[in-house]
Structure formats: C-alpha cells, structure tokens
Amino acid sequence: MERTVGQPVNDSFLRRIRKTHSRKFSTVVEVKDEQASQVCSFRTAENNPINHNTDHIARLYTVPIDIQRQIFQNGGLPGKFMKQVTTFQECSIMVRQPAIEIISYLNQVDYTRPVNKYVLYGKFGVGKSLTLCHILHYAFAQKYVLVHIYWAAHWFKDMKEVATSVLSPGCMDLPIDAGLWLKHFKFQNSKLLSELDLKVSKDYVWNQREMTSQGTSILELVEFGMNRIKYACGVIDALIKELKLASIAGKCKTMVVIDGFNAFTSSHTRIRNDNKVMVLPKQVSLAIPFFDITKNDWCNGAIVVTVDQTANKDRRESHLPRYLLGKEGFEHLDPFIPVLIEDYNIAEFDSMIEYYKDRKWIRNITSSGQRELELITNRNPFVLMDQCKFL
C-alpha cells in the first residue's frame, strides 16, 4: 500500500556505472552549456538585444542577472512573470516581431528630427509589457537615459499618499510615489549619469532656505528629491525639463518607456482633493512632466508607450488606441506609430512549449495534449502560462 516518491529504478545502478565510466575514459570533449543552447531551436545565445534581428524571432533570450537586477529591481517585470523567473531561475524573454520592428526603427531613425512615438497595443495578455521590457533592455544596452514607468495606473489607483502641492498651486502631489519613482530612476541610470555628468542649467528654488543652484549634477538633484520627498514632484518636473534640454543639446539620448499610458488620459482616478472632489490626472503634479515629455518638441530620443484595457476604469471595451486614449489623449500623442501585438503564432507557441519542457514546467506532454493546449488557450501567451501552471 505505501509507496514513496522516487523508488530506485532497477537499472539505475548500471546506468550510474555507465555514466561514471564514460566520463572517466571517453575521449569525447564535453560540450559546454553555451554551445548546447546555441543548437536549441527555442533558445538563442545572443543575449544582447542590440544584435537581435529577424533571425532570432520566436526564440528566447536570457536577460543577464546583473542587468535584470539593475533595470527591474524596483518593478518592471509583471508580477506573475516575476514568479516564473524565480521558479525557472532565469529571466527569459521571447524575441517577437513587434520588438524587432521597433528596434529596427530605433536603429534607422534620424535623431536630429523630433522624437518618434511608438504605441504598443493589443488584447489582454498578448505580451505588451514583456515587449516593453525587451525594448527597455535594448535602450539600456544602447546607453539611453531611461525614463521608465512600469505601470502608470498605480499612481491613480493605489497611490500611497496625497498632499496639496506647494510648488504648483491647484494641483495635487503624490510625494511617496514620486520619491519611489526617483529611486527607480536612480537605480536604472546611476552608472550612465555618473559617466555623462549632466549639469543643471538653471537655479531651482524649493523654499527660502533650500535651492538647487545652476551647475550641480543631475544625480544630486535626484538625491535631493529622494531625501526631501515633499519636493519630489517638483524635482521630477525639473529633472524631466533638464533631460529634455540635455537631449536637445546632444549631451545624452533619452528613452521614455511608459506602460499603460492611457491611465494618464483616464477620466477616473481615486485621488481626491481637500473638498473630496475627484482630481483628474492632468491636475496631478506628478503626471504633468510626463505629459510634457511625451510631446514631440524635443529630439535625440524615443518614446515607447503601451495602451492597455486594464490601465483605466472607464474605457474597457476595446483595445484600440483611439478608444483607450480618448480624443484628448489621442490628439496629445498624435502623430505616432501604432504597433499591434498579437497572440503567438505556431512557431512561437511551439518554442514556448519547448521552453516549458526544458525548464521541467510541463513534462511528457503528448502531441494531442499540445494540440489541446493550443485550442484551449487560442495561443494567447497569458492564458497559456495560466493553463500550464497545474500540468
């Protein structure tokens, strides 16, 4: 009646002998893991997104652990994907058509012209955020200054604290969220900013005693904002203006990456002012600089944003950008390049299944079982991840 897991197989002893024997006496040189992964049909050894091109489509590449720690330390990877990363002990992202498309645009574009805007859109769970992560990694490798919001709706849905703004009257401050964003910004860019050594172009007066004078470095400005979170929103405003000026002057390249941009144009927030009246995103002092940087009145940079049904509360019936952004938001972003992200195609689906098999997430699945998964999930990446969880 009683059984335990992993009863020794009869021939395991023999197998062991054979294993040790071959290891000791065989003349065949052991194949290294890196070489083996090159042969894999679902993996690519090219872990630098700068070199990604159409040959790598439908293959997974691994984000090196140190870069992952630096870019996604304070958020960026979606929560459920993060759980997979800890289980699989590696952060692998699939190289897909939309990411390659945007990377090729970024390689070819003329940076003296006003910035281009790329809007990623698609149904729920098709991988908009992960495509954004891939592009973020590319921008990091190309030494862009990253201005990254990993989920814009957080600020208007579950903000930490709301205060009346001192610096911009009539607006509301989100001091803790602003401080956290500055920390995120510093984490992603500290190495690059200390290399570039950007300076503040004018004096910023915070109150009677405290001011940031002309010529102090941008990192000091960021640190001031982190220490005095009362002025963090004002610091972000100043920082974004400085980054724009520096980009126009050609001192640095700036990449703006915002996930769920339509939260900024939503007509519903949970922020209330002193009279208990709802405050729209354009009256939130934290959002104003990001409206400013998504205009195309600057150059030497790029803007990649996603629009998502789950980012706003009032518009959820369609995934198309015009509907999600509303009239004002659409006119604000216009002109932009829309990039549609779709469900997996057959090759991508197969390589994902192969990857799950390699990570032991699913085992001994038959071809008819695979076909069933394909039909159940309709090759939607998120639903596939969900369906494979209990197998």
Binding site: Q89, K360, R363, E372
Partner: protein, 224 residues
C-alpha cells in the same frame, strides 16, 4: 377527478414499483465520454447491445481532455462546499502549481543527478502518492454490548478509504494561520504526504494503532 388522479398514480407505481428521483428513467445508459473507452467499446460486442438504447447526457465535468484525472476530480468534489465547483477547482489548480514550485525549487537545489532524478515533478503523480499513502486499511465501528460501547476494527471499503484519506489531507491543510493560504498549505501537505510524512499520514497511522489495540474485540463483528 380525484379518483382519476389516484388511479394514474397507482398505475405509475405498478409499472415502476419504485419512485425515481432522477429525471432520466433507470433504463437509460450512462454516457461514455473518454475517447479510449469509446474505442474499446466499439471494438467489443457491448456496443451492439447498447446501440439502440437511450443514453443519459454527459455531466458538466465529463470531458475527453488529455488532462482529465478521475481521482483529481473526486478530490475537487470533496473540497467543494455549497456547490461552488469553480472555487474548488481553482484551489486544487493553485495547489498543484505550488507543488510544482516547491519541487522545482528542490530540484534546482539538488546537486547530484541522482538526487534530481528522485524528485517527482509531476503534481498529479505527487497527488496520487499522497492519497495512496493516507489510505487506511481498517476502520473502527461502534458496537454496544452489555451496556458498554466497543470500538471494533473492521475492513474498510476502497471508496470509503479513499474518501477518508482525501478528508484527512484537506483537514490537515485547513489547520493553518490566518495569513497562510489554503492552497499553499494543501500543496505542502500533499508533498509531505507523498513522502510518507505529515499530519494526514500520522492520522492514518494513529487509526491503525487504535485498530491494533482493539483487536481483541474483532470477533464482535460476527457476533452481532
């Protein structure tokens, strides 16, 4: 009018003798919904016998999916309360996911290949081991003899034994702190039960011990 009504009732009773609760009369055949069972049926002569009989419709849980497991379905039904199958199903799926995560963590921690081979990564297999390990072979029934209540060890039927083992597993998972999630505890319990450890296995052993202690009364089974 009343006479006619009672007459029809009487006739009904004459024809069926027993009142059925089911919508479907008892001569309806149970449906066969697994593809392999259907193939086996068509190969045998049984198919000819039931070819022209009426068949009950399939239940909502009857599926020809590759990932169907009758015992797991039973387990889902045992967890289910107030007919909330969706919730019960989610709990079991989540605990299976957690089993995989626990086992994969151990798999990555293991250094030698031999250790890695010994770790079972399939949550279905872990579940089957766990239920098998918690299944008792005896049970105690109460019997009153001369004003004294005796507990008599008797053999247990396989269906009842399986139910008891599932109940123990669920009960063991339910004893938890408020912060813990039921499915996480269930996953831990299933993993430890698959290795013959944990509370559910202990309860089974306790029952066996009690049966052993009361073996002097075993013959009361025939004296009843």
């Amino acid at each position: 009018m009343y006479f006619l009504f009672t007459y029809t009732l009487f006739r009904c009773n004459l024809t069926s003798f027993r009142r059925e609760y089911s919508v479907f009369p008892s001569h309806y055949v149970e449906p066969i919904y697994r593809k392999d069972e259907q193939e086996a049926l068509f190969r045998s002569e049984e198919a000819m016998n039931i070819a022209h009989q009426q068949v009950k419709p399939a239940q909502i849980t009857d599926t020809c999916s590759e990932f169907y497991d009758a015992r797991v379905l039973k387990f889902i039904n045992t967890i289910m309360r107030n007919g909330d199958r969706k919730l019960a199903r989610t709990l079991v799926t989540k605990s299976f996911e957690e089993i995989k995560r626990i086992q994969l963590q151990r798999y990555h921690k293991a250094k030698t290949n031999e250790e890695k081979d010994n770790i079972e990564l399939d949550p279905f297999v872990v579940f089957h081991y766990a239920v098998d390990n918690c299944t008792p072979v005896l049970q105690l029934i109460n019997c009153r003899k001369g004003g004294i209540m005796y507990k008599i060890p008797v053999p247990i039927s396989p269906v009842r034994a399986q139910h008891k083992s599932m109940k123990w597993l669920i009960e063991a998972a339910k004893e938890k702190d408020d912060e813990e999630r039921f499915y996480n505890m269930l996953a831990k319990e299933l993993v430890s039960a698959s290795q013959n450890q944990g509370r559910a296995v202990k309860w089974k052993e306790e029952l066996h011990k009690k049966c052993q202690a009361n073996r002097a009364y075993a013959h009361f089974r025939w004296l009843k």
